[in-house]
Structure formats: C-alpha cells, structure tokens
C-alpha cells in the first residue's frame, strides 16, 4: 500500500526531498528484493521508462524552494518528482498563519485537491496521507492546516499523519509561537497523529553525535529524514503475519494514538553517528535497547548526557497507586510506545524492558501500550538500529513553553493586528489557547 506525501512550505519541501532521497538510497542497497520492492511501491511509482517518481505533492506559495527541491531530486539520478506534481504561487504567505489559512488555502483549494487526487489515483491501495510542514512560518502552518482540513473532508476514511517541524526555541520567526499555537490547536481536531521533530534537538544531534562543525539546514533535514525513514520503511509488524506490513500508517496510529486527547508523538533513533565512524563501531541489541529505554524514561532525546538517575519504580502488588507515587520527578510517563528494530539478529533482541507496566499509564495494560515492529534488513547503512516512537510526556515541556510565550505576547496584543486583517480574530486565538491548555493539562496528569 502506498503513502502519498504532501510537502508544504519551505521546510516541508526541503525535508521531504531529503526523506525521499534517504528512502530511495536505502531501497537500492544490496540483495533485499522484497524489502526494496515494498519500499518502492510505498513511496514511488515507476514510469514506463523505469524512472522512479515520488508519490508526492509539493505545495508552496512562492516558487524558489520547489524549483530547488525538484532540481536536487532530478540531479540524484535515481528518482525525481512528477513534473506536474507541484503547485506554487508568486508571493509567499509572509509568515502569517491567517494569510495562509484564510486567504491562500481557500483560494487554491481546488488545485491542491486535484493534485492530491491524481497521486491517490496512481496508488493501487492508499495506506494514508502524510503531510510535512513546519509550524513557525505562514505557508506550512497556515496553508498546511487548511489542506489537512480539506483532505480530511475528501478522504474521511484514510489515515492522515502530520509530520511537524518545531522551530528553534531562540527564534527563527518572531511570530512563530502564534503560528504554532494556531496550527496545533486546529490540527488536533483533524489529524490522526502528530509526529514532531524539534530543530533544537536535531541541531544538537548534528553537533554532538555527528560531529558536524558548521551545521547547515541540509544536515538538520537529513537527520530528520533518517529518523522518519526508519519509521516508514517496510517492517514486519504484529499484524502483518510474516510479510512486510501493508498498512504502516494505520498500524502506527492504532498502536499509539488510542485516545483523541493524546496525539503528540515524539521519536528518537539510535545509533546516530558520523558516517565515517559507522564502519568502526560495533552495536549490540542489549546495549542499544538499554540506552533507548533510559532515554525514554528520562526524556533525553539523544544518546548523550542520558540521566541514569531516573528510574522506573518496581511494580508492587500494592497496585498502580503506589507505582504512581513512586515515580520520581523527571520521569517520563508514556501512554504508548512503538519500538522499531532493524538490522542483523533482530529476532534475538530482548525487549522486555519496554513492557514494564511502570512505564505506562494505569489505564492501558502494557501489552496494549507496547508494540514492536522488526525488519531483518539494515537501514541506511547502520548494521543495527532502533527507533522508538512515543506517545508520552516528552513534548509536554516544549509545548508548554510555546504556549506560555505565545500567551505572553498575546497579553500585550502585539502583532494581533496582522492576523485580524486576514480574518483571525482575538476570539479565535482564545479558542486555540484554550484547546492547547487542555492538551497540556491532559498530558501533565498522565499517570
């Protein structure tokens, strides 16, 4: 089954291009016919000449980034974007969510729906739609939200996964917190799952783990693409009965977002290291899994500076009440976790540590809360790699910060006139704040 990717705005288009690049390169490695075929079918369609064309729609309100991404893809020689798969206008959204959502979105609704429909029709079976965008700007966030809404209407039975890139805390766009709050509050009603990458975290991975001296956005995007690829490439799941799963998005969503109030997913992938070091490193599943588990419970997003003091309390027969109170501060409670293991000897990996009920909330059994996918095929040159996708409190603090800063700015009504002039009123802002405070409250009380 195939996934149609909708790339929105500068970030969405730049990251999307890196994602297809990673996937295409991974699927061309070595003698792994079934894996490669499955991956190709999922992300590309083959033309009569044998070219691989990405199942993607590129949307932006100004043309430079799309042109750049399409040229870069074509230059790879291995895959390209469809010539007619992009939509751009002349003038961007000006970092204004209201401009994206109220003006550009509706104006170009038909053209965008048309492009998506064409891609969907090229698929034998649709596994779902993945949108890729940032929340800080105007097009990705505003137009992206509107497009998600339209797609939800047109494909009510399909899975929609929103991949979001959150901006640097120290600011890329001054009104980024407003744009983020408006985006998240709207998407929460529309999306099946919201998978988040934070620029700050990925930047640290580039600097500390990959040892890149002058980090550019391409480096950041490539790390995001690697992590996303490790989730989306074919894998054997609990429900797929010995073949590569044909319903990746559905299984992702049903394992992780079982409750409409809890949709925020974070992820970490290990190992991550400079490609020159990979050949000299040896990995063991016990080592990787131990680190990954500690990263989960101490809420460390990369494999460095892990806080080993945070521990899961032992579960006594006294039941869940005692467990809850024994969890120390800094303990990251999960609602659900999905572990994806790829590489050599994957069947021998011992994952009991993730099934410890102490990690999870009391209202799901650990059998329901924990799921695992496996693939014996190594991913993207790593002999062994493990990815954990979590629905946990990991994003609580960044979300809280974002809402707090937006609220402070809102209290002085700064920049509000820029939004009201396009149709987003103070009422709309208040509604958005309220729904996100509700989400924050729900996650805070997760125990």
């Amino acid at each position: 089954m195939s996934i149609v990717t909708v790339q929105l705005g500068q970030c969405g288009n730049q990251v999307g291009q890196e994602l297809f690049d990673v996937i295409c390169n991974d699927a061309h490695e070595g003698q792994r016919r079934l894996y490669n075929e499955s991956s190709n079918e999922r992300f590309f369609h083959e033309t009569a000449h044998g070219d691989l064309v990405a199942r993607a729609v590129l949307i932006d309100m100004e043309p430079k980034v799309i042109n750049h991404s399409m040229a870069k893809a074509a230059k790879s020689g291995r895959w390209r974007y469809g010539e007619k798969s992009s939509f751009s206008q002349k003038q961007g959204s000006g970092n204004n969510w209201a401009n994206g959502y109220c003006v550009h979105g509706p104006r170009h609704r038909e053209a965008v729906e048309d492009l998506v429909r064409r891609e969907v029709e090229c698929c034998d079976r649709l596994a779902g739609i993945m949108t890729m965008m940032s929340v800080a700007g105007g097009t990705g966030s505003g137009v992206g939200t509107y497009v998600t809404q339209c797609l939800r209407d047109v494909y009510p039975n399909s899975f929609i996964l929103n991949h979001l890139t959150w901006p640097y805390d120290t600011g890329e766009v001054i009104v980024q917190n407003y744009n983020s709050v408006l985006t998240l509050s709207h998407l929460y009603q529309l999306s099946d799952a919201i998978l988040v990458h934070e620029n700050d975290t990925v930047h640290r991975i580039c600097g500390q783990l990959l040892n890149i001296k002058h980090i550019s956005f391409s480096d950041v995007n490539r790390v995001i693409a690697h992590q996303l690829g490790s989730i989306l490439q074919p894998a054997l799941t609990g429900d797929s009965h010995g073949v590569y799963s044909r319903n990746p998005l559905g299984e992702l969503v049903s394992s992780l977002t079982c409750h409409p109030e809890y949709k925020l997913l974070s992820m970490c992938t290990i190992p991550q290291m400079a490609s020159s070091s990979i050949a000299y490193s040896v990995f063991s599943w016990p080592g990787l899994l131990k680190h990954l588990r500690q990263m989960l419970i101490s809420n460390t997003k990369m494999e460095e500076g892990i806080d080993w003091q945070v521990r899961a309390p032992p579960v006594h027969s006294g039941g869940t009440e005692r467990t809850r109170s024994l969890r120390g501060p800094g303990f990251n409670t999960s609602l659900a976790n999905l572990l994806i293991l790829r590489g050599k000897d994957v069947y021998s990996a011992e994952t009991g540590g993730f099934q410890d009920p102490a990690l999870y909330t009391s209202w799901l059994s650990s059998e329901e809360a924990f799921n695992m996918w496996k693939s014996p095929v190594p991913f993207n040159k790593y002999e062994k790699s493990a990815t954990l996708v979590s629905n946990s409190q990991a994003l609580l603090k960044p979300l809280d910060n974002m809402v707090g800063k937006a609220w402070n700015m809102f209290a002085s009504r700064a920049y509000i006139h820029q939004y009201t002039k396009f149709g987003i009123s103070e009422e709309d802002f208040l509604d958005s704040f309220t729904s996100l405070e509700q989400v924050i409250s729900s996650y805070t009380q997760l125990c």
Binding site: K64, N95, I215, S216, K405, W407
Partner: protein, 475 residues
Amino acid sequence: MTQSIVVQVGQCGNQVGCRFWDLALREHASVNKKGVYDEALGSFFRNVDSRKSNGGACDIIGGRIQHLKARAVLVDMEEGVVNEILQGPLREVFDSTQLLTDVSGSGNNWAVGHMTYGSAYREQIVDRVRRAAEHCDCLQCFFLIHSMGGGTGSGLGTRVLSLLEEEFPEVCRLVTSVYPSAEDDVITSPYNSVLAMRELTEHADCVLPVENQSLVDIVNKIKQASRGGKPGSVIKRDSAVISGQGGLAGAEKPFDAMNNIVANLLLSITSSARFEGSLNMDLNEIAMNLVPFPRLHYLVPSLTPLYTLADVNIPTRRLDQMFSDAFSKDHQLIRADPKHSLYLACALMVRGNVQVSDLRRNIERLRPSLPFVSWNQEGWKTSLCSVPPVGHSHSLLALANNTCLKPTFMDLRGRFTRLYRKKAHLHHYLHVEGMDQSCFSEALTSLTSLIEEYNQLDATKARLTPDAPRLSIAT
C-alpha cells in the same frame, strides 16, 4: 517571483535611486553570467525589445536579456537631477513614460510639494505608477525613496505615499527616508520633517530611517581604514559598501559614497526574496515580524561588514565580528544606540556562505547583552540567502524595531517647536492653498503620541514584568 517598483521623489530620492539602479545592475551582472532574463532580474527590471513596434515587452523568463528597463517612477519638481540621470550612462534603463518633472521646484516647502504639486499632478502620478504596475505579474512592494528635510521629497513624496495606499492598498509600502541631521542647511527642515512624519506614521507599512550624519561617519571610517596602512589591513578593491566600482556610472560624484550605502541597504533587504537560500525571507515577512503595533513601524537599519580586507581566509572569528558589529552604534544608519534601548523585534538577514549553526551561535552569544521587551524575549527573525553581495563573501543586514528612535524623534520635535513657537517661516506654508495651522498642530500631536508609545514601552524595560497568568482548565 514577485516584482517591486521603486518610486524616487525629489533630489535626494533620485540621487539615491540612481545609485541603487547602478548597483542593482552590477549585482545581477555578477550573479547572472549567462545573460538570461531570470526571475531574480525580473523583480526589478523589465526585459524590452526596443526593435518591436509596440515598445515591446518580452518579459519571458528564460529569454535572453535584450534591453533592461527599471521598474521605477522618477518624480522631481525641478529638472536638473532627472536630466542628469537621463544624460548619464543609466539613460537606457529608464524611458520617458516613467518620469514626471516640473521646472520650478518646491522651494524646500512641504506644503508646496504636498498640496500644490500633489493635487496638480495627482492624475499623472497615478498614471505613471499604474503603467509600471501593469507590467508586473505579481506586484508585491513599493519602495519609496525620499528625504524628509526638503520640499519635493518630503511633501510630494508623502503625497505619493498616500496615493499608493489609496490606489494599491494590497501592496506593501516600504519607505526609505533620509532624515536631516541637526546641522542641516535647510532652516525649515524640522517643519518639513515633522509634517512628513505624520504621513509616514499613517500611510507607510515600514519606514527605514537613515541619517546623513551617520552615513558621513561611515564614509569617513572607511576612508580612514583604507588610508590606515596597517599591514594586512588593505581593503579589497570594490568591496567597500560605499564603492560603486564595477557599476556603469563614471567618476564618483559627491554624495555618491553615502548614497551607495543606502542603495546597498535596499539590495540586501530584497536579496532573500530574489535569490535562493536555505531560509528565505520575503518582503511581506518584514512587516509581519517587525511591526508589533501598527504605528511603530520604524526600523533602524545597520549594515556589516563595511568593507572586506584583502586577505582571503576569513576565519570564524571574523564572521562573529560581523554579528557583533551589527549591533554597535557605529554601524547604524541613523544616530542611535540600540544596545542601550529596548528591542521590540530584530531581523537578521544574512547573505553568503553562512550556515544556520553560525547564526544560532551568534544569537546565543549576543542575546544576553541586548535588552528585549518582556513579551518578545526571543524576538529574532532570521534569514539565510546564499548569494553574497558583490565583493564580499558574506554580509549581514540587521533591522531593529527599537526604542532608540525615541531620542531621535524627540530631538526632531525639539527643533520643530523651537521654530514653531516663534512662528518662524510659518507664513510660507500657510500661504499655500489647502494648508492651515491645524496641519501643524496635528502633525505635532502625531509625533508626540508616537514618542509616548515608545516611552511606555521603555518604562517596561526597568520593571520585571511577570508572565501573564495562564488560562486554567477545570480538571
């Protein structure tokens, strides 16, 4: 890609404009080696085949460059400056349908420029602008260049501004205003400036105030550095921000050096919209991010580096120096000290071979020393454009919405009231039809309330404003 139209009014406006077009041609020539009319070039120029009988626009992107015509409207109430441009090497770039001139000038009188000429030439101005706009596929921004101290630039220029708002309300209006220094030789410049300021506050989307004295200081600094003679401190030829080397115009005229700085400012602002980069910034994003309240749209510009030293290796330390310099008061294009006043918002537009990590590192380094308003502690808007300006490997333009303009405006108001109290020269203005004393008092009120808004924001600087209490959710 969008297009922008430059409207240059008055002697100063036209002289700066002339330098702008020269440097724009130079920049595009250095980037566009194949002579193809591309979208970046299209943002400021039309491609015209003058052999065609209809005066023939052939704006096909990707075609060869035949004849470039600037997307500009030149307005002046006396002919000298415009005629000089039309006789100089840039004459091919303009055609007669873009010009509007008169003979006698405005006599340094805002009222004559605004009321008399404004009404007399209203139709013609709108016509010229509309014609330029029709050649545009997607018009995004008007750049108005003028001075505040004289009569035409100040008076007619602001009249043009309100006409642009009326006729093209959707199009952004970015105004570059040259403010008079304290020792200005036009006695009535305070009147002209304050009267014009009211118009700017009400009708412009963004104003970039520039002051003659700062430009002079920068020019002197560069000349001193080039005479300096320290070994290893030789300035690379034609890399100074004041240099017009490589452009079309011949020998350097007085004021050219200063005008080149302003021209470079305009080129840098539009660079991210014209050329590609890893983090683009369009012109409409400037107003969106830097204008938190509609009237506070005055942005202090600063350009670095002023010149590049001739040695080729630029270690990271030099890059960091560029960021530090952008906040020093010597590099601001108006006399002001932003570091000691309150920042409402700041934009950093970087050009050239600079990566996001360099940008992040410098923001983190400089942030603690810069006071930001409480509700915008991380008030940075950043952009990275891969194409550096001519002669440099990288450059930085910082635009700050900062309360350091308050003393500048207070000073202006002081000079105004000194004249107004004595009613000096007032009769020249009141004689003009359409003008009366209320114009003066309203302009003064407008300036005072603007100063008051800055004052209120400044007052929050000392106080530690607590975070607003969050909404509480019933559980």
